[in-house]
Symmetry: C2
Amino acid sequence: MVTLADVARHAGVSSSTVSYALSGKRSISRETRLRIERAITDLGYHPNAGARALAGKRSHIIALVVPLHTEVYVPTMMEIAIAVTVAAREHGYDVLLLTNDEGPDGVQRVAASGLADGVILMDVRLDDDRIPVLHAQRTPAALIGLPDDPGGLSCVDHDFAAAGALCADHLADLGHRDIAFIGYGSAVYRRHAGYAERTVNGFRDRAQHRGLRFLHRPCEGSYESTAGTLARILADRPDTTGFVVQNEAAIGPLLSLLRASGRTVPEDASVIAVCPDQLAEQHSPRLTSVTGPKKELGQVAVEQVMARIAALAAGAEPEDELALMPPELVVRESTGPAPHR
Amino acid sequence: MVTLADVARHAGVSSSTVSYALSGKRSISRETRLRIERAITDLGYHPNAGARALAGKRSHIIALVVPLHTEVYVPTMMEIAIAVTVAAREHGYDVLLLTNDEGPDGVQRVAASGLADGVILMDVRLDDDRIPVLHAQRTPAALIGLPDDPGGLSCVDHDFAAAGALCADHLADLGHRDIAFIGYGSAVYRRHAGYAERTVNGFRDRAQHRGLRFLHRPCEGSYESTAGTLARILADRPDTTGFVVQNEAAIGPLLSLLRASGRTVPEDASVIAVCPDQLAEQHSPRLTSVTGPKKELGQVAVEQVMARIAALAAGAEPEDELALMPPELVVRESTGPAPHR
DNA sequence: TTGTAGGCGTTATCAA
DNA sequence: TTGATAACGCCTACAA
C-alpha cells in the first residue's frame, strides 16, 4: 500500500507538506505542489480512509436509515436514497446504508463508533424511537418526514397541507362544489400519521375558504372498503362531483367503481390523487395528481446534516431547520369542468 | 469520547486485555471478563471505527454499487439492497451505498482507500467497465448479474435459461402447441444483454425438446409496437395460443390487444410472464409468472464477498463461485388448457 | 491468564 | 513556505 510517507519521499518533501497539499489548508509553492502531484500519480496513492478518520476525527460518512417496510412507494424511496448519495458525494461524503431492523441501536452504533459523522432518517414516524438516541449522542441529523416534536433537529418533508390545498383549489377552479376526500384507513389517522392529517387539514381549510362542501372519509383501500366508502359518500352527498384520493390503494378501485356506477371520468366526476407521478400515469385515465419533489428532499436533507456537522466541528450551536417542499399539481386526464346540473 | 484505555483503567486491567476480551481472540478469566463488561456498560464504550480500521486493516464495510437508471424493476432492486444490508450485518459488516454516476472511479476510490473491504456490483452489464478495476485492485467482489467473462470473480444471478424452460414446460403441459415469445426490444439483444438471450435460449431449447412450434419476436413495449408484434405473430402463426412475455412494458398492451381481438385470457390464449410477482399481481387477469428469488440474490452475494475477503486475509487464492438461482413458476389466472381447435 | 510496546497512516501543532 | 513530531484509538506480536 502506498502511503503519504511514500509520496513525501518520492517528492522529496516532508509528509506534512503532502498532507497540506492534499487538504489545501496551507499554501504550497507551485513547484512543490507539482512535484507532489507527480509523485501521487506516479505511485498511485490513495489516502487511507481509516487513518484519515482517526486523525481527522471525521469519517466523511453519513448514515442513511431506510425503512424495511413502509407505506412509502418504493421507487420514491429509492429515488430519495440515490439523491442523498449523489448529494453527499458533492460534499466529499459517502453514504452508509442502514436498515431499520436494528432499530435505534443501529443509529446508536454508527454514531457512537464514529463510523458516521451524521445521520439521515427516512420514513420518520411521529413518535420515533430513534430520535432520543440522536439527542443523547448529539448526533448531527436530518429527518425526512416530520416527527411530533422536531425540537433540536433538522427536518424536511413534503408540504402536505399545501398539497391538500392545491387539490381543493384545482377542483374549485373547475367549478366543482361538492367534494369528497378519500383518505387512508382510520388506523392511519388513529396513530396520527402526520402526512395524512396535514393533507386533510390543508384541504379542509382551503375548501372552506373557497366555499366548497366537502366530506372526509377514511378508506382502507381494498375494493370492498372503497365500494362502501363511495356508496356512503354518494348517499350523503349525491351531488358530489370531485374526488381527492390520498390512499394509493384506493385509486384503482375508485376508478372502477365510478365507471361501474355509470360515471365517466372526467365528464361526470373528477378525480385528483395525492401520489407520485409515476403512479398517476399508470391509471386509465391518467390521473391529475399532486406530488412533491423527491430528489430535492434528499438534497435538502444532505445540506441539513452537513450544516450540523460543520456546526459541531466549529463548536457552534446548530440551527434547527424545517423545510417544507412545495408540491406541484400536474393536470392530466382525470379532472375536468364540473358537469352542469 | 470513551476509549479502550478508559475501559482498561476502569476495570483495572491493561488495554490489550480489553481488546482481546472484545475480539475473543484469547481466553480471558471469567472474573476479569465480567469486570471489563461492567466497565464497558458503565462508561458506555463504543470502539472507534476509524482506529479499528487503521489498526486491523479492515474497515468492516462493503460497498454496494447500485445503478442510477436501470431496466430492473425498482422495488426488486431495493429488496436486494436491503437483503444485502441485513446479511452483511450478520457478518459484522456495514454497507456503503455507491451510485454508478462515479463510474469505475467510485469503485476504485473505495477499494484503494480501504474504505471498503469488498464490493458488490448490481445490474452488471456483459462488458462492464468496473470489472477491470476490480481485477487491478484485486478487490474482493461479487457481481449480481453475469458478465461476459466472469473469470476471477464471484457471480450470482437468476437462472434465466431455467426460467425460459419453465415457461415452455408450463405451456406444453397445458397442451399448447404454438407459442410466441415476446422479448425485449431488438436494441437489448443487439447489445447482448445477457439475461434476455439466456431466457430465450432456455425457452427455445426446451420448446424444441417438447416439440413445440414457436416464434421469438422482439418488442419495444409501447402499445403500438406491441400491436405490430402481435399482428405479425398472428399472421405468421394464426394457431398461436400461448404467449411468453419478458418485456414488462409489453404486458399491459398485450393483454388489451388480445382482449380487443376477441381473445379471452386464459380461455382462448394463455399468457405467462417472466417478471416479479408483484408486477404479475397487478394485471387483470393476474398473470402466471416465472421469477427468481430476490432476497437470496443479495444473501449469496454477501456470502461470496465475505469468502473472498477471508481468503485475501488468509493469503489464500479465493475461489470463483457462480451461483444461478432457480426460478419459480407461480400459476395464476392467465394460463389454462389450450383451447380445442 | 495478563501486560508491554510498537505500529497502522493521517492530521495538526509548533517551530523554523 | 516547509519540517518535525506528537497525537488519534486500536490491534497484535512478544514477553512475562
